[in-house]
Symmetry: C2
Subunit: 155 residues, 2 copies
């Protein structure tokens, strides 16, 4: 097994032994050096966003003092859910290694594949969540205000 995936897997085991959340671990690596590691802490922290990948990214960004992790790679014991996949993309991470698939994770009861299907338009989302667009005009102003600002910074 890849040495970094092994660390991610050890994190996952640590998390389930401590009842911190789901059986998932992730590590961020730069130049073959471990930068951060994390396991799912949704239950421990009462935070639905505390997936292993999100925590590993937040810790790596904190350690490296930048939101731009474009010189990093991430190892995840399972295929990231769409939240984490997008977070990895926002962090500009160049390479994602994952172990088990969204379907493997689905098979033990998690919603990863379900949310992928909603985003892909293969499912209606009305089974759990209703989505409505309101007040677009009012909200458009703030985008234009930001865009007109000379000091604006993209991330």
């Amino acid at each position: 097994m890849n040495e970094f995936m092994k660390i991610a897997l050890d994190e996952a085991r640590l998390g389930i032994n401590a009842d911190h959340g789901g059986p998932f671990g992730a590590v961020v690596v730069r130049n073959d050096q471990l930068i951060s590691k994390a396991h799912n802490e949704v239950l421990k922290l009462n935070d639905p966003t505390a997936h292993a990948e999100i925590l590993a990214i937040r810790r790596a960004s904190s350690t490296l003092n930048t939101f731009d992790l474009s010189d990093c790679e991430i190892y995840c014991t399972s295929e990231p859910c769409p939240m984490c996949f997008s977070a990895i993309y926002w962090a500009r991470i160049k390479k994602l290694y994952y172990g088990t698939s969204r379907n493997d994770v689905s098979a033990i009861g998690f919603d990863d594949a379900h949310i992928y299907e909603i985003i892909r338009g293969q499912r209606t989302e009305t089974d759990q969540m209703e989505t409505l667009s309101i007040d677009r005009d009012g909200c458009l102003e703030i985008l234009q205000e930001w865009h007109a600002k000379p000091s604006r910074k993209l991330y």
Copy 2:
């Protein structure tokens, strides 16, 4: 304008005036009462996951002491990116109101629509991020280990 969307918009303005990040705000509401509010803090916190919706969810979960926000609604000044959309789904929030669309946000330079297209399979992701599956068998064990645990808890 809806009163809660107005609060989210005020948050967005506060964030851009302070150079905390992008022009986005979000609030979580329960029984017509404001539970949490947030604006994008990616630049302030050096955290690529610090979108307004993620912070609003984390604050609401912290305040209500639960990862389950199924009795809550969320108001977002822009359509959530896939990271935030999925976070809202994981939080079990029942209703999502948003102002501007992913295309409005794309027009001022953000990657939201781009990431949606990748997840929807409408774009190859090799322009920024490579994805590889490795060590599935080793990682599968931990899923089975968790699934066999009587005290396991889904979220």
